[in-house]
Symmetry: none
């Protein structure tokens, strides 16, 4: 069980490493969490080690390493995706734990609610992790909402006449062409999570 100061320490370390690519020194942590004594910070670090959240390499500077599995984060679960029924937004602030490599700014997850994409290796119950993006490039895999109703994961392609072709990902299903106004691109596909039942 972490104290508040220890949590602040951990968060600072995580942000620092994410930003700089290397770990902070004890002194940097101290100024970062607004404390003057390095000794105090060192105590917090020891607590984090005891909790298994970080590891230290002895006799090195900037020797803190994060234990990834422990500090896994959450992203919001915002909707249910389905090829043949209505897209449904989930509003109850549900979140899911994801592996650290799927974490990213503003990312969210959508739950697949039918087997409509089974041929493409996407099963009912899978969670699609997406990232909202301003400009979609050709060949991007996107989660698109058709007429505000049916959500699908397809490959995006902008045609010369400004219509959009949605291609199936892997299988030999037919591509479909849509007018731009019929589509809402919810986000770019980042990864797939298959939860244990």
């Amino acid at each position: 069980m972490l104290t508040i100061a220890q949590q602040k320490t951990l968060q600072f370390i995580q942000r620092f490493i994410k930003k700089n690519g290397y770990a902070p020194t004890v002194a940097e942590i101290a100024t970062g969490i607004d404390i003057k004594s390095r000794g105090v910070v060192h105590r917090y670090i020891q607590a984090l080690v005891a909790e298994g959240l970080i590891e230290l390499t002895p006799n090195h500077h900037r020797n803190i390493r994060l234990i990834e599995e422990k500090s896994s984060k959450k992203i919001p679960l915002t909707g249910q995706l389905s090829d043949n029924s209505l897209f449904e937004k989930i509003s109850n602030n549900q979140t899911i734990d994801v592996m650290p490599w799927l974490i990213g700014e503003n990312r969210f997850a959508l739950k697949v609610e039918d087997d409509g994409m089974l041929e493409e290796g996407i099963m009912r119950g899978d969670l699609l992790v997406c990232e909202p993006r301003d400009k979609i490039k050709d060949e991007d895999m996107v989660v698109a909402l058709i007429d505000g109703k049916n959500g699908v994961l397809k490959r995006y392609q902008l045609n010369k006449d400004q219509t959009i072709t949605l291609l199936p990902l892997y299988s030999r299903l037919r591509p479909t062409v849509y007018e731009q106004h019929r589509l809402e691109i919810l986000g770019v596909y980042v990864g797939l999570i298959r939860l244990e039942k």
Copy 2:
């Protein structure tokens, strides 16, 4: 574990080689990272050699070579996985580009060569990214080699009598129990890559 100065040195070397096609001299590195002593640079170079990031050919000028696998976004493709045919090692140093979040120390990829795990959502052609690990925990998803022949992706469980049960990942297939000596755990499952065809 690299210090900041060592990281700067490595980055300079990488950029220099990318730009010029040949390695920098010690003096060029020195001015590049803004220090005056060649001896100091040489220490940093030795550290990079110790980390396996670069190699030196003795008695030559501009004698630094980058070890690619270590410093790029590639991981080696080391084998072909199959449920009903022989496991096959790939030895030709092939590498694959992977998303940054799949990169990790010593990780490697195995190609799935049949549809034996289709029920579990793993298709022929998928690449399984794995990480070798010393101690496997119960419930870990592992790539296991049975009798040195058949490779499978299963969930690991150590029984009280020291046998090992391999559980299917998601579907309702039967679990199988093995004596420890029949199994070789190639690595822990990290992620799945489905390449476009």
